[in-house]
C-alpha cells in the first residue's frame, strides 16, 4: 500500500507545480507521474530525456561525465586523458570509488588525473600538438599502460581540433590502441548521451581488436556488463557467479582491463546490470556476435535469487544446480540479517532520486527489509527505464524525471519519508532539513551493496542512518514544539 492515495498524490503534484510560471508548469507536469501498475508503456504518462528547464536547479551531469566518469574511467589499465581545461578531469577523478586491484601509477591508472590542461593559447592555436606531446610523455612515464583514451571536454568540439587524426598517428607510433572519444560536455541533455558515445567508441575502437585470435572457450563463459565496482560491487557479484559454476571473462568496466573487453565477444552470455549505460554495446554484440544479453538485479536476496535462476536458465543442469546451491547456502545467513534489521526498519518509507539503475533496482532490497519506496526518480533515464520502473514500484507511488531542487524539497516536506536516498548534491540540503539521508550514487563511502555480502552491509547502513539518534537533536531548543516545553514545565 502506498502512503498516499492516488488522488492525494495527484493533488500534491499540482500543489508543488503551482509556483512555476504557466509554460514551465506545463513542461514540468509532463515529467512527473503517479504510478499505475496496470500500464505497460510509460510513453503516455511521463516524458524523459528532454532538455532541463532553464532557471530550475537540475542534478544532471554532462556527456563528459557519462563517458570519462562512468564508462571509460574505471578501466584500470588504460589511461583516460581529460583533453581540455584542467577542472573537468580533476573533479571526475576517483569520486565514484571504482575499486580496482593494482599498483596505481605503475600498471593501473584510474585515480590519476591525466589532462592536457588547456590554456588560452591552446584555444587560439589548437591543442593537437599538445595532445601528441602528452601521449609521448605518458608512454615515457607510464610504459605499462595498455592503451589510451582521449576524452574531449567542451572546448575541443568548439575549436574543431582533430583528435581522431592525432590518435590514429599516435596509435601507430606506440603500437597500442588510442581511442578518440567525442564526449564534449555540451552534447545531449545529460550524461546519458555520454554513455552512448562511450559505448560507440568501445564498439568502433576496442571490441573487434582480437577477432579471429585464438581464445580458450568454455561453455560457461559470461561477462558482467554495467557494473562499475563502486565500493567493490562487481567483486561481490562475481563471486556468486563463479560459485554457481560460471566463468567470468570480463568486467565492464569496474576493475576491468582492456584485454577483458577485447575478449568479451567470445562469451556465451552478457549479464547486464546497468541497463542505461551499457545496453547499446549489448545490443551491438547481440547483432554482430550473436551473444544474448540478460538484465539482472543483485540488490536484496529476493531479487538475487530471481536473477540467479534467470541466469542459470540460459545454461545446462550443472549451472542450474549451482544456482540452487548458492541460493540455499546464503538463505540462512540472509534470514539472519533480515531478522536482525527488519524489526528496526519495518514500515519505514523511503524516497529515492538517483541515476542509472538504482531507482528501480534497490526497491527489492528495501522491500526485503520491510521498507516501502514511496517515490522514485531518475536524473537521466529514458522511456525504456520508466517502462521497467513502473512494474517494480507500488501503485499510486510518485515517479519524477529530472526533478528540480524545488520539487524534491516540496515532495519530501509533504511525504515526510523516513529515509532519503539520493546524490551528493542533495545530501546536505536534506541533512539540514533533518531527514536521514544515504548517498546512493557511490554508497556514501560504504559498500559493496551488490550480492548477498553487499545486502548485509546495505541493511546495516540503512539501520545506522535511519536509527541514528542525531536526527532528534537537529532542532534548536527554542524551536522545539509546545508539547515538549509543557512536559518540562510539568
Amino acid at each position: 500500500m502506498a502512503a498516499l492515495t492516488r488522488e492525494e498524490t495527484q493533488a500534491l503534484v499540482q500543489e508543488v507545480l503551482e509556483v512555476y510560471p504557466e509554460k514551465a508548469k506545463k513542461d514540468r507536469a509532463k515529467h512527473i507521474m503517479v504510478n499505475d501498475k496496470s500500464l505497460e508503456s510509460s510513453k503516455k504518462c511521463i516524458t524523459s530525456n528532454r532538455k532541463s528547464l532553464p532557471g530550475v536547479m537540475t542534478m544532471r551531469g554532462c556527456a563528459y561525465a557519462g563517458s570519462k566518469g562512468v564508462v571509460w574511467g574505471p578501466i584500470k589499465d588504460m589511461i583516460s586523458i581529460s583533453h581540455g581545461p584542467i577542472g573537468c578531469g580533476q573533479y571526475a577523478r576517483g569520486g565514484r570509488r571504482n575499486y580496482y586491484v593494482g599498483t596505481t601509477g605503475v600498471d593501473t591508472f584510474c585515480e590519476i588525473n591525466f589532462t592536457s590542461d588547456f590554456q588560452e593559447k591552446d584555444i587560439v592555436f589548437g591543442g593537437d600538438k599538445k595532445l601528441t606531446k602528452l601521449i609521448d610523455e605518458i608512454e615515457m612515464l607510464f610504459p605499462l599502460n595498455k592503451g589510451i583514451s582521449v576524452q574531449s571536454e567542451c572546448p575541443i568540439g568548439l575549436i574543431g581540433d582533430d583528435i581522431e587524426a592525432v590518435s590514429k598517428k599516435a596509435a601507430a607510433q606506440i603500437g597500442k590502441p588510442v581511442v578518440p572519444v567525442r564526449c564534449e560536455g555540451f552534447r545531449g541533455v545529460s550524461q546519458s548521451l555520454g554513455h552512448h558515445i562511450a559505448n560507440d567508441s568501445v564498439r568502433d575502437w576496442i571490441l573487434s581488436n582480437r577477432d579471429g585470435q585464438a581464445f580458450e572457450k568454455t561453455p560457461y563463459d559470461v561477462a558482467i556488463l554495467g557494473d562499475y565496482n563502486i565500493g567493490g560491487d562487481a567483486w561481490a557479484s562475481r563471486i556468486l557467479l563463479e560459485e554457481m559454476g560460471l566463468r567470468v571473462v570480463a568486467q565492464w568496466s569496474g576493475d576491468g582491463t582492456l584485454a577483458e573487453m577485447e575478449n568479451t565477444p567470445n562469451v556465451k552470455l552478457n549479464l547486464l546490470h546497468c541497463y542505461r549505460s551499457m545496453n547499446y554495446i549489448s545490443r551491438h554484440m547481440e547483432e554482430k556476435y550473436g551473444i544474448p544479453w540478460l538484465e539482472y538485479n543483485f540488490f536484496g536476496p529476493t531479487k538475487i535469487a530471481e536473477s540467479l535462476r534467470a541466469i542459470a536458465a540460459h545454461f545446462d543442469d550443472k549451472i542450474k544446480e549451482g544456482a540452487e546451491r548458492v541460493i540455499e547456502k546464503y538463505t540462512a545467513p540472509m534470514n539472519e540479517v533480515i531478522a536482525k534489521y527488519k524489526p528496526r526498519l519495518q514500515g519505514k518509507k523511503v524516497m529515492l532520486y538517483v541515476g542509472g539503475l538504482r531507482p528501480r533496482h534497490v526497491v527489492g532490497a528495501y522491500e526485503d527489509l520491510g521498507m516501502e519506496v514511496v517515490g522514485t526518480g531518475y536524473e537521466f533515464a529514458h522511456n525504456d527505464d520508466y517502462d521497467r520502473t513502473m512494474k517494480d514500484m507500488g501503485d499510486a507511488t510518485l515517479i519524477y524525471d529530472d526533478a528540480t531542487g524545488h520539487e524534491l524539497d516540496e515532495f519530501v516536506k509533504a511525504m515526510k519519508p523516513d529515509l532519503i536516498g539520493s546524490g551528493i548534491k542533495e545530501k546536505y540540503v536534506f541533512h539540514k532539513m533533518g531527514f536521514p539521508f544515504r548517498q546512493m550514487h557511490s554508497w556514501d563511502y560504504s559498500g559493496p551493496y551488490h550480492g548477498y555480502d553487499g545486502f548485509a552491509i546495505f541493511a546495516k547502513d540503512m539501520d545506522l542512518t535511519l536509527n541514528n539518534p542525531c536526527w532528534k537533536m537537529l532542532k534548536a531548543p527554542w524551536d522545539k514544539s509546545e508539547p515538549a516545553a509543557e512536559q518540562k514545565a510539568a
Binding site: 508503456s41 510513453k43 545490443r283 547483432e287 522511456n383 525504456d384 517502462d387
Partner: protein
C-alpha cells in the same frame, strides 16, 4: 528514415529504435517468408513503420532502415 533493430523476443519479433528509445513488440509484419521479408510493421503501441521488402536476414538481431508511416512516435 531511421535505423531500427529487429530481434527475436519470447513471442515474435521485437522492434527497437535507438534514437527514440522505442522498444516494442511487432504485432504483425506484412511479409514474413524467407524470400520476402519486411513491408509494413505494426507495433503494439500503435506505431506503423515500413521496411523495404527483402530476403529474410540469416540471423537476428538485424539492423535496417525504416520509415515511419503512422502512429505514435
Amino acid at each position: 528514415m531511421a535505423n531500427i533493430m529487429i530481434r527475436r523476443g519470447d513471442e515474435g519479433y521485437v522492434f527497437y529504435m535507438p534514437k527514440r528509445d522505442i522498444e516494442d513488440k511487432i504485432v504483425s509484419m506484412e511479409f514474413d517468408t524467407p524470400e520476402k521479408w519486411g513491408g509494413e510493421l505494426k507495433l503494439k503501441n500503435g506505431g506503423l513503420y515500413f521496411i523495404e521488402p527483402q530476403a529474410a536476414p540469416a540471423r537476428l538481431p538485424y539492423s535496417v532502415r525504416a520509415k515511419r508511416l503512422d502512429g505514435v512516435e
